[in-house]
């Protein structure tokens, strides 16, 4: 038994070719069909008229191939990062290999960026992949100066690049979830660097700061590396890199770093650093438990 229920009226850009009609707000009626069959009667949304559905333009094959190549290059680079721990090679060689793969991937994505902001983000990422490659050649000591001047700014620029891509494009929710995960990982990289710095400034032994040991580092490395692989793949395949370059200027607000991604960085960092300072200041009490 079915019954129809009117619930919503809201607007959708209908891509109507006639310009006069574009200004008119056309209501779209949604109906809910309740299925009484079975225990799980979930409502299903139905369009009143099938021809009102938004038409998604298919991506041309040449662009799809480029997307695929970039996506698999990112997969290769991230997979190499996972297995690099087991390869007896100098760290700067591993770093150079992953950087070169990433630079190639981003160069391909630059050619199929869908708007100016995305292209800027892709060019920035090429620049900073080169910078990361060069940085890997030198063994940089882990001090307050190098961390605040070199390591954390690099992470901030990567967060800016990803936030710019997300904000400048209307990315599908499924892809957006994975791309914002890349931002989450970068935020956590930054905060864990700060954790080391706090430990160093409080003259703590590294065994009190870092709990990684033989049992734990491998599964963590593999699972989070796996999540990173999926995220990189989704980034290359999202609608931000679907060709159809739109040369028109976008609002300047999207270039602003005052967004929720940087808010997340600020809030998370301050909460975690506060907790770490409290933890390390009562180390004698905790070790006596």
């Amino acid at each position: 038994m079915f019954f129809l229920l009117f619930i919503h009226i809201f607007d959708i850009d209908l891509n109507i070719e006639n310009e006069c009609l574009q200004d008119i707000q056309r209501p779209v009626f949604y109906f809910v069909k309740f299925s009484r069959i079975g225990a799980n009667c979930k409502p299903k949304l139905l369009f009143m008229e099938q021809n009102l559905q938004l038409q998604v333009e298919p991506i041309p094959k040449s662009i799809r191939v480029r997307q695929d190549i970039a996506a698999w290059l990112f997969v290769l680079s991230n997979a190499y990062m996972i297995i690099a721990a087991f390869i007896p090679m100098a760290p700067f060689v591993n770093n150079a290999i992953t950087s070169v793969i990433c630079i190639t991937g981003w160069s391909i994505l630059t050619t199929i960026a869908s708007n100016k902001a995305t292209r800027v983000a892709a060019l920035l990422s090429i620049l900073f992949s080169i910078a990361t490659c060069i940085r890997g050649m030198f063994q940089i000591p882990f001090t307050w100066v190098t961390t605040t001047m070199l390591i954390i700014p690099m992470n901030l620029i990567w967060i800016y690049i990803y936030s710019l891509i997300i904000q400048a494009n209307d990315i599908d929710n499924k892809d957006k979830v994975w791309i914002s995960l890349l931002v989450v990982f970068l935020i956590m990289n930054t905060t864990s660097d700060l954790n080391f710095m706090i430990g160093q400034s409080m003259d703590l032994d590294s065994s009190h700061v870092w709990a990684w040991n033989l049992f734990l580092v491998l599964p963590f490395h593999i699972i989070f590396g796996g999540i990173n692989i999926i995220a990189g793949y989704r980034l290359a395949k999202c609608s931000a890199f679907s060709g159809n370059y739109n040369p028109s200027h976008q609002p300047k607000e999207i270039y602003s770093p005052v967004n929720k991604y940087f808010a997340a960085l600020l809030i998370t960092t301050s909460i975690l650093c506060g907790l770490w300072v409290i933890l390390y200041s009562c180390i004698d009490f905790i070790e006596s438990i």
Binding site: M188, N195, A264, W276
Partner: protein
């Protein structure tokens, strides 16, 4: 498998619906890690205390530091993936609660499992010891080995002094070189 790794995603979708848009697997993965860390630390501490083993285990401060880091993943995701500040705060609190709960559950479960294993091993050792003691008192069984004399007598046990006992309870003295003598 997919369903198991998205338990918390389904839970928060039930509570907040469209207001949150988090990753399906991150929250559950971090919680599993928290439980594993709890199990590892408590197990190492237990083995250290009981057998004085020096396992390369993380210190308690380092463990709490790691738990704070894992909470950070959820806090950062909460701010990014939710639409309002209130939902973000509530989600972060809920996830932090789950991480701490998983840590405690992991620690307690590992302690209980190790305790049960220890009890089983101790009980097995005690039973084996008693068995050996009883055998020594009454004579050792010829475990699986058949020892038949030329007249057809089957030997069943060997006493600690080296004498042999047959099925009827008769005693034989082992002279060596395959010769026996009735006592």
């Amino acid at each position: 498998m997919k369903q198991k790794f998205s338990i918390l995603y389904n839970l928060e979708k039930k509570i907040w619906g469209e207001q949150t848009n988090p990753n399906k697997y991150l929250a559950t993965t971090t919680i599993i890690f928290s439980a594993v860390i709890g199990a590892l630390v408590s197990g190492c501490e237990y083995l250290n205390d009981l057998f004085n083993w020096h396992i390369n285990s993380p210190t308690l401060t380092a463990t709490f530091s790691l738990i704070i880091l894992i909470c950070g993943y959820n806090i950062a995701e909460s701010i990014i993936a939710t639409s309002t500040a209130k939902v973000a705060a509530l989600r972060a609190l809920m996830m932090t609660g789950f991480v701490i709960l998983a840590f405690i559950v992991g620690a307690v479960a590992s302690f209980i499992i190790l305790l049960i294993i220890t009890i089983i091993v101790v009980v097995f050792l005690v039973i084996t010891f008693i068995k050996i003691l009883l055998n020594e008192m009454t004579g050792t069984k010829m475990n699986g080995k058949k020892f038949i004399l030329s007249d057809g007598t089957i030997i069943k046990k060997r006493t600690p002094s080296g004498d042999l006992i047959d099925e009827t309870g008769g005693r034989w003295k082992d002279l060596g070189d395959g010769h026996v003598e009735k006592l």
